[in-house]
């Protein structure tokens, strides 16, 4: 079967292993993820911080193009893109004047009824039911599932009831044979878009997350967001300078964990692209 797909910019560059692994596991499950024709950047933090109209018009263009492509469901693996697309859909459904203005600028009308799925919703609906037959190598390790902010908040719009203690990723990891540990940093912020402009804040916020997971015995932190991944993995020097100690716990995408459990090679899962080496035996 085919599903609409919005990779977003990170998945074409700094988090390409997220793209590689979600495509690889989808293929194993017989699902083809089809990119929106000529998609553009969602505007990310920059747009909603500096320019409200762009923060809506940029995601809206993608929603219109997805409709033109005939998509009914759209898979958005990047938690930040997912958040911007859902917030735009929500805002345009509540504000008809803005919707009309944006449609005029786009030169196209928007039905605004596409179903947007984040990676966990996609996995739950399309991959989880097939895992019993697809798991070849159980991932028998203690892991810390880290959700961050954008998959669960704002909970009123994301319709996430367990926004302080989400379980979707934990359930998938248990299914893969892992033990998802109980820990208090599941939905704490990693420092998000400050990776470049305020790296020391990322060092502190991500440092607390990494320290908690490592001290509770987790052998890996499992994530579902490119920003969280690059802050916890690539910014490890800033983290270690904040913690004043070395921490070697690796950070993997949930899609990479599934790929490994499906028996795909570490290379197919894009494991070699991380800064903190991943030595999980499967």
């Amino acid at each position: 079967m085919k599903l609409g797909f919005y990779p977003g910019c990170s998945l074409t560059g700094s988090s390409r292993e997220y793209n590689e692994s979600i495509l690889a596991i989808s293929k194993e499950a017989g699902i083809e993820l089809v990119e929106i024709t000529d998609w553009n950047c969602c505007g990310a933090t920059a747009a909603h911080n500096l320019n409200h109209e762009l923060s809506v018009s940029l995601p809206a263009r993608n929603l219109v193009l997805a409709e033109l492509d005939g998509m009914e469901e759209l898979v958005v693996p990047c938690a930040a893109c997912f958040n911007r697309l859902v917030m735009t859909q929500h805002e345009l459904s509540e504000n008809n004047i803005l919707k009309t203005e944006i449609e005029a600028k786009l030169g196209m009308s928007l039905k605004n009824d596409i179903k947007i799925l984040n990676v966990l919703q996609f996995l739950e609906k399309y991959i989880f039911p097939k895992l019993d037959e697809l798991i070849k190598k159980p991932l028998a390790h203690d892991v810390a599932c880290y959700y961050g902010c954008l998959l669960v908040r704002p909970n009123k719009v994301m319709k996430e009831e367990r926004f302080e203690d989400p379980m979707a990723m934990d359930v998938i990891m248990q299914k893969l044979g892992a033990n998802a540990i109980d820990w208090p940093f599941k939905t704490e912020c990693c420092g998000a878009g400050f990776s470049v402009s305020k790296t020391e804040i990322v060092g502190e916020l991500s440092g607390k997350i990494v320290r908690s997971a490592a001290d509770r015995g987790a052998k890996a932190i499992v994530v579902a967001c490119p920003m969280c991944h690059s802050n916890l993995d690539m910014r490890r020097p800033a983290i270690e300078s904040y913690l004043k100690r070395k921490v070697d716990i690796p950070v993997i995408y949930i899609t990479q964990a599934i790929a490994l459990a499906m028996g795909l090679t570490p290379r197919q899962a894009g494991i070699q692209r991380h800064f903190v080496p991943v030595n999980l035996t499967v």
């Binding site: 000529d38 920059a46 500096l50 320019n51 263009r61 908040r153 912020c189 305020k198």
Partner: protein, 171 residues
């Protein structure tokens, strides 16, 4: 301003207690809510000149925990845009604003983010020329950076969205 129900804040302080950057803020979220309630022009000016509004990460923890469901992150977005428009950006927030502007420049040029272009543009506008010199080679060797940008085809449609929306950053 926005349609947010700031007036309903009764100063329970949950937003400030849960804010991951509150200890770095000059005005904490609950204080900003109270200052906005007064409607005082001097208080508003102080908020627009504060570092706090730029330190807010939009993690949405405050909004999720607020007993009155006040959309504080939406207020922060509004305040940031006014601070920028009125030339009141706090000096310690210049790097943050420079980064956001470089980000939007990259989208305006290409339709998609070009990470190499973003960082070069940011370095030129922030003056932080030597930052991340040790990170970039590691990103290249892991195949995470592209020299050339990916560009979308419908450039005209894209420029219609940007028309009248952005000013070039001051050099």
């Amino acid at each position: 301003m926005t349609d947010v129900n700031v007036i309903e804040c009764y100063q329970c302080g949950k937003c400030t207690a849960g804010c991951p950057v509150a200890d770095r803020m000059d005005l904490r979220p609950s204080v900003i809510m109270r200052m906005l309630q007064t409607g005082d022009a001097a208080a508003e000016d102080e908020i627009l000149r504060s570092l706090s509004i730029w330190l807010c990460l939009t993690c949405e923890t405050c909004y999720s925990r607020c007993p009155m469901e006040i959309d504080i992150p939406k207020v922060m977005d509004y305040l940031r845009q006014r601070s920028l428009a009125e030339g009141k950006v706090h000096s310690d927030a210049r790097d943050i604003v420079a980064f956001h502007k470089s980000f939007l420049n990259s989208i305006e040029s290409n339709g998609r983010l070009h990470e190499v272009g973003l960082v070069i543009d940011y370095k030129l506008h922030s003056g932080n020329l030597l930052q991340d010199m040790t990170t970039a080679p590691g990103m290249f060797s892991r195949g995470k950076l592209h020299i050339m940008p990916e560009r979308i085809k419908d450039r005209k449609g894209l420029s219609r969205l940007f028309k009248g929306q952005t000013k070039k950053p001051k050099s």
